[in-house]
Subunit: 631 residues, 2 copies
């Protein structure tokens, strides 16, 4: 176990240029304000007044779901986290005022004992902590805590952190194994990883212990959710829309260390597993880290879309059986892919291995980025890999606006996911044009990704500095060339990282070039949806064909088993990007009759593929990642 | 309009040899007795005692469905019809006793006014004719009438016919346009065609008029089903599991003459359309016949499985949108295909055209025959075109045993569907080894179908006889040769029939040979389920590959766009049949990873295909009609 690599926090990494600078600024100048308007319009902010009358005049009752939603506070908290991350990058008094105003409302809403949940306080004040299974209270608390940690680190202010700590202290007081404590845990994991962030930020081990308790207790028999249902006299059978054991939906069917397959709601699984690694790393618990590694491999080997999406079924927003990866019906929720990114990020702290950073990159550039339109103001909740033209981005998934602020916080916080540091040196996981500061040394990174494979790292240091730079060689890279100050170097990667140990001088320059061949992908036979199909990728980007470029009836097109596609720069299209063009066949429909004995004729055509993330930004139409191929 | 071709009834046609003789005898000696035991065991026979206590001690209430089923009487009536048809072929005192015993029970159960329905009389006596929409009363009456007509024609006895006529007379008295009459019709069509059989058998035009009334009234506004619901104070919304207008489920959303697409429950649609032709032919109503022809083409052009199955969706047991023909989820109920056969049989009376007889043959040899196991005692309700090994025949679909007795009556009555006669002469639609008697002339037909294409017809006549023999040239035939007394003849078919007009002498012999090439089939592009796939047929038989011959993972196999399969006789297999063998590729799964960049390797293999009807008679396993193909 090598837990020596810690992420370099956003406070020390600034994205300065290129692809992600454009996205960061789009989110910072448009997305956040759009989302604020939506949150205000929907009621998440007014709900903090704890006044039923302020719920937009809706006729809402004390039912399971509305009045407002049980997860409204988390939507707002994720937005606060995103806005705080933005404030760390750029001064924006207007945004800061919006943030501070919400914090004041949170302070006012917080109860004397620290409790804070607008839904429970407004609509069912006597239900506090009575239905951990369904009501998302600790989940909302978790997001509040995450927002507070980021707000504090970004602004230096204690306002939100004080609110969050008061609430966290209440949780410490109420939950755990001690006498008079509740030994329950939340139906929707999140509090666990949030407490670990709070622990790391404050050094207060009570938060670590509570997180550890939640993880250890989860799934123990007799199940807490059964016990709390009896206590609240709830005799209704618990039947989430999930195959198999109902508590598997929330990963509480058995203790985590016994789990061998990833099951249930995908976001919940990823958040839980992220915390499992967090705790495992800190307390050096090999069984937790082994569990996380085992379940990671289960996802990657059997349940991962080519785009980095996970959780194929809408029914349970989650996992089904191995290799069940339908394309058009793919759920592949944006938040689930963000969760996978977070899980990989944690695992990367246990071991420098590109199996984690490759998947993080895949998810980031494809399924996650697909979740937001190029306008910064429209979103996908689910990210299918094929569409007949009926899947469109929407300004706000009002029924469950979890993904848009989650996207905003990830993009605004992206600088915190690029680099690690350890005793050995510095690791570069994701090539993004940025400046990163370390004790005694600064790195200036320039990258052409995702469209070009050239990367440069320049060293700034006052004194020569002996340390290792570990540079990831992506799995998609073709021929890789590496030069230091113009001198070619051998590229010998260990677990996907090339380790450059030397005494670095000021002005040293590393050039790292990845050839980016077009890759033609095939799924293993078990993936029924992709049988007889093929897909294209280049660099970190998965490509798709869209009706806007190729006309309708995409299933008419058939690619050869070994297709020849080449990159074409298109600076005018969709904000500038590299397309793929190549030859395929188009089956021509001549048959008038339902069945014929004539093998369909084909004609050669040129197909144009665009990056998957950029689809659905023009006229609505069909899309395919997996295209038909000849055998 | 040429309505001059009448079917030659079973009383004058005897199947003497070959494929259908074996099936007829299997049904006559095994299937009918098996089904009798099931009907007795389930309760259909005891239900005629009209005594709740005799319902097998089941705890059943006055709910919508059980106690016993609303269609139990029809199951029994179809069995009676099948057994009667058997008695017409072969004396069987044991079978006759079973039939007579049931008739005695029916006589006892019949009410003084003629009413007879065990479910209504036992479980909700005050609901008589109160819910025509749901309760299947007239549907059950229809099957009773059909059974009675066949029983009378087969045995000469009046016992069952008297029961049926008393009931039919009650219907004549109660339904229609006159004062004091109910102007309703049954939710499940059947009574309409049954009344036409009764009219043809008795010559009583009141039955014709009532059938005509039911057809004309159906779907008129305001809808009768709405009106009767108001009358019985039933305020529940009527929501059959059917897309679109709820009454489209039962073809009552608009008058039949206005309908342009076949919709709803497939069996209902076929039974209704059969009656539409029956009435149209008799009263020479061009609008009815045009309607039937239009809706026939809609089925054939857009909703027909390659196997002759129809009604792709289990949700409504019926039709969905055009070209929606999933393979594994195909409903393709046996009864629906029988209904299509009956509908085609009616249309063949309007016009001698092989577009009808080809489809009848297709349905008969494939989807319909698939419905019964080679043991004669196991059945499919639905007939999918692909299976992963989980679709099995069962001894009795107890929840709705409509298909098994329907199959039994069709196979037992098959001799009535082979030939027509008209002013011009005699038409041979289906080549089955049989002897057929006509005034002044007899035909002795020998046929090698479905496995061999040689057919012979020998004439027996006392005096030379000037008439036309119209012989169908099947659509699947390759080179066709025709000889009369050894002299080759031109084969010039009109609408699929070659017309041989001459003076026939005793001993004249016609030899008709159809080349039976293996046909490779492709579906039009609109059929998404068959895209990139191909199927095989030979003669009237559609073929499939089964795990028992080819091993598991059938989707591994890829056929060339122009495959080369050849027939192989296998006398030992599955009762003797002709297989198809040919070369294909098998994709080998080498990939360990979920996604790879290696195009799947292939190896040549020999595939063995069996007739579709014969699948699922060995160890349970996978099956495919539509196999993958290379582009």
């Amino acid at each position: 176990m090598d837990a020596s690599w810690s992420p370099v926090p956003p406070s020390r990494v600034t994205i300065v240029d290129g692809f992600w600078k454009r996205w960061r600024d789009l989110v910072g100048t448009k997305t956040l304000f759009h989302q604020f308007q939506e949150l205000r319009g929907e009621g998440q902010i007014d709900a903090l007044a704890l006044d039923q009358k302020m719920h937009r005049g809706r006729a809402v009752g004390d039912d399971w779901y509305w009045g407002g939603s049980i997860f409204w506070d988390s939507d707002l908290a994720k937005w606060l986290e995103a806005a705080s991350a933005r404030l760390q990058q750029t001064k924006d008094p207007e945004l800061e005022k919006l943030v501070d105003d919400i914090i004041v409302r949170l302070e006012r809403a917080q109860q004397p004992d620290g409790y804070l949940n607008s839904h429970i306080l407004t609509w069912r004040p006597r239900h506090r902590f009575k239905n951990l299974r369904d009501l998302h209270e600790l989940y909302c608390a978790g997001h509040l805590i995450e927002a507070a940690v980021v707000h504090h680190e970004a602004t230096g202010k204690d306002t939100l952190l004080s609110v969050a700590r008061r609430y966290a202290d209440l949780l410490v007081e109420r939950f755990g194994n001690g006498p008079g404590k509740m030994n329950g845990y939340c139906g929707h994991p999140e509090i666990e990883l949030a407490l670990m962030r709070l622990y790391r930020s404050t050094g207060d081990t009570r938060y670590l212990e509570l997180s550890r308790f939640f993880i250890d207790e989860r799934g123990a028999a007799p199940n807490y959710f059964d016990r709390e249902a009896v206590e609240r006299l709830d005799r209704r059978e618990f039947r989430p829309n999930h195959p198999g054991s109902p508590y598997a939906y929330m990963q509480a069917h058995e203790p985590i260390r016994q789990q061998t397959k990833v099951v249930g709601h995908a976001v919940r699984a990823m958040y839980l597993l992220s915390a499992v690694v967090d705790v495992g790393v800190v307390i050096k618990d090999a069984s937790l880290l082994e569990t996380a590694g085992r379940l990671w491999r289960d996802v990657i080997d059997t349940k991962l879309y080519l785009t980095g999406g996970i959780g194929s079924a809408s029914e349970n927003e989650g996992f089904t059986r191995d290799y069940d990866l339908p394309n058009e019906k793919a759920y592949a929720e944006t938040c689930a892919s963000i969760g996978l990114f977070l899980f990989g990020h944690r695992l990367l702290q246990t071991r420098l291995d590109s199996e984690f950073s490759d998947v993080m990159e895949l998810a980031l550039y494809n399924c996650i980025l697909s979740g937001i339109g190029l306008d910064g103001e429209s979103f996908f909740y689910d990210n299918p890999l094929a569409s007949r033209g009926t899947h469109h981005r929407i300004p706000w998934p009002w029924w469950c606006p979890c993904c848009p602020p989650n996207l905003a916080r990830l993009i605004s916080s992206l600088s915190g996911y690029l680099l690690s540091e350890g005793l050995e040196g510095i690791a570069v996981h994701q090539y993004v044009s940025c400046e990163a500061a370390f004790p005694g040394i600064r790195l200036t990174i320039k990258s052409g990704l995702p469209f070009a494979g050239h990367n440069a790292i320049e060293i700034t240091t006052e004194d020569p500095s002996d340390r290792t730079l570990a540079l990831r060689i992506p799995g998609w890279a073709g021929q890789t060339t590496l030069k230091i100050n113009g001198q070619s170097q051998n590229v010998e990667a260990q677990n996907g990282y090339v380790h450059l140990r030397r005494v670095w001088n000021n002005g040293d320059k590393i050039e790292l070039n990845f050839e980016m061949p077009v890759r033609q992908k095939f799924a293993r036979f078990d993936v029924e949806a992709d049988r007889g199909r093929t897909a294209l990728s280049r660099g970190p980007l998965v490509y798709c064909i869209e009706q806007a470029d190729n006309g309708p009836d995409l299933d008419h097109f058939v690619l050869p088993g070994q297709a020849d596609f080449h990159p074409v720069e298109a600076n005018d299209l969709l904000g500038g990007m590299t397309l793929l063009k190549g030859n395929a066949l188009r089956e021509t429909t001549s048959a008038e009759k339902l069945y014929t004995e004539h093998v369909p004729e084909t004609e050669p055509v040129e197909l144009c593929a665009i990056p998957y993330y950029a689809w659905a930004n023009r006229a609505p139409g069909e899309m395919q990642v997996w295209m038909r191929r000849s055998a």
